[in-house]
């Protein structure tokens, strides 16, 4: 059973059709890297899969749950890492993690939280308010959140953005670890080389149409679109 399955998903805003009959499958333990020009609809696809937007037609399934009828169960298995960091500025790193875990009925111990922060490289900033965090630090904190929550499905919108070299390596390390634990990852990216290291499948979304490509095409010299 695929972890994420898109079945003829279409989405249009007023008179602009963003997604056209997009179909794809991501198995548990697999990472799908999605490429495409700016404005192609990659973020829209992620938003639909994250149950934030209703598709105009088509459906999708996540871990067997229907993406529209069983929205709440879908939300329980997925986590999104995107441009907005979902962090509260006046709270510090530890408090933000506690809050995020609390919303999922989890209560990580102080030790678990510290370990997660150390693993993503911001252990020293545990008591700093998010107001003082850079974008890269916020991204790392999102990974720490994912480490604590261990979602079965990870949706990532340009995960490498804002990260420095070590950060990108840490991100790939985290993705590989999640895949080993059976999670499915769907990520959008503009970084072909780095995503090729973890991707098991790849695709290009262009003018609303999804076209699957071979992972080795990612590192080939020609342009994708």
């Amino acid at each position: 059973m695929p972890a994420i399955q898109g079945i003829q998903l279409s989405k249009s805003y007023r008179h602009y059709q963003v997604l056209r009959n997009v179909s794809f499958e991501v198995a548990p333990g697999e990472c799908y890297a999605l490429f495409g020009p700016n404005g192609a609809g990659k973020t829209t696809l992620l938003k639909v899969l994250a149950t934030l937007q209703k598709p105009s037609s088509g459906r999708f399934e996540m871990m067997g749950y229907d993406g529209i009828q069983d929205r709440n169960q879908v939300r329980g298995v997925l986590m999104m890492i995107a441009h907005g960091s979902y962090l509260y500025s006046e709270l510090d790193a530890v408090e933000n993690l506690r809050f995020a875990a609390g919303l999922r009925s989890l209560s990580p111990t102080a030790r678990e939280i510290k370990l997660a922060l150390d693993r993503v490289g911001i252990g020293a900033f545990a008591d700093f308010k998010i107001r003082y965090f850079s974008e890269g630090m916020k991204k790392r904190l999102s990974i720490a959140k994912a480490i604590l929550i261990r979602p079965k499905v990870l949706l990532m919108d340009e995960p490498y953005s804002s990260l420095d070299e070590r950060g990108i390596a840490m991100m790939n390390h985290f993705i590989r670890e999640s895949l080993e634990q059976g999670a499915a990852v769907l990520m959008t990216s503009h970084n072909r080389v780095q995503s090729a290291e973890v991707a098991g499948k790849a695709g290009v979304l262009h003018q609303g149409v999804l076209r699957e490509i071979a992972v080795k095409d990612l590192v080939a010299p020609h342009e994708l679109f």
């Binding site: 805003y13 007023r14 008179h15 059709q17 056209r20």
Partner: protein, 232 residues
């Protein structure tokens, strides 16, 4: 449903115009003036239908909103949107004619009685509804939020009416009974014609506007498909 509207709207429109013409004739020409208010009472023939149609408009809006939230049928949403717009017309008419009636009768353009205040709040809710719909870009969210506003307003209006009435009896216990005119039999006929005529007219107007909104949505969807195919 849209085909039914197309087929019958003409009948509604004509029937409405006929009824109103008959009503106006009886009301303005053939019926006697009121013993107290004189000729001015003839405004009642317009004011009362405006008011009752306006309340019906809001009732339709509420039912359509509930239906939309349940079934998510976009045509029902178009109906709700249309009703709100037409409702603004009839509510404004009710308030305007009420005010015009009030001046020569009680020497005041405005008074804080429960009915006038409730109608004003109703008008404000309808205008807020239309503004809300204009400011939301996502059309699915627009329909949803508008429906919520209509429903919350529907729960609120009776409470508004009730509390203003209480408030008024407290502060102006000797208020003049404003609509307490005895309606003589001969006045009833034009009133009935006018009311029925207004309802028919209302149905016609809502039918036309609903079609307009529905077609506009269809057009946008079509444009999207065409534009997509001719992409550069």
């Amino acid at each position: 449903m849209i085909r039914w509207i197309r087929r019958f709207e003409g009948w509604f429109g004509t029937a409405g115009a006929v009824c109103i013409t008959i009503g106006l004739y009886f009301g303005l020409v053939a019926s006697p003036p009121d013993s107290y208010q004189g000729e001015v009472v003839r405004i009642m023939y317009v004011h009362v239908p405006f008011a009752s149609t306006s309340m019906t408009a809001y009732a339709v809006l509420t039912v359509a909103s509930l239906w939309y939230l349940w079934k998510r049928d976009s045509l029902v949403d178009n109906l709700a949107h249309a009703t709100a717009g037409i409702g603004v017309f009839f509510t404004s008419g009710a308030l305007f004619t009420g005010s015009v009636w009030g001046k020569p009768t009680w020497n005041t353009w405005w008074t804080w009685d429960a009915r006038l205040v409730s109608f004003t709040i109703l008008l404000l809710i309808l205008i807020g509804y239309l503004m809300l719909r204009t400011f939301i870009e996502d059309k699915e969210r627009e329909a949803r939020y508008a429906a919520i506003l209509a429903i919350v307003g529907a729960v609120d209006l009776p409470i508004v009416h009730f509390s203003v009435e209480w408030w008024r009896t407290l502060h102006q216990p000797l208020s003049i009974s404003q609509r307490g005119i005895a309606i003589a039999g001969v006045m009833l006929y034009p009133l009935i014609f006018m009311s029925v005529g207004f309802y028919l007219l209302f149905t016609y107007m809502v039918g036309v506007r609903t079609q307009m909104l529905y077609l506009k949505q269809l057009l946008e969807a079509k444009k999207g498909r065409l534009l997509g195919e001719v992409r550069l």
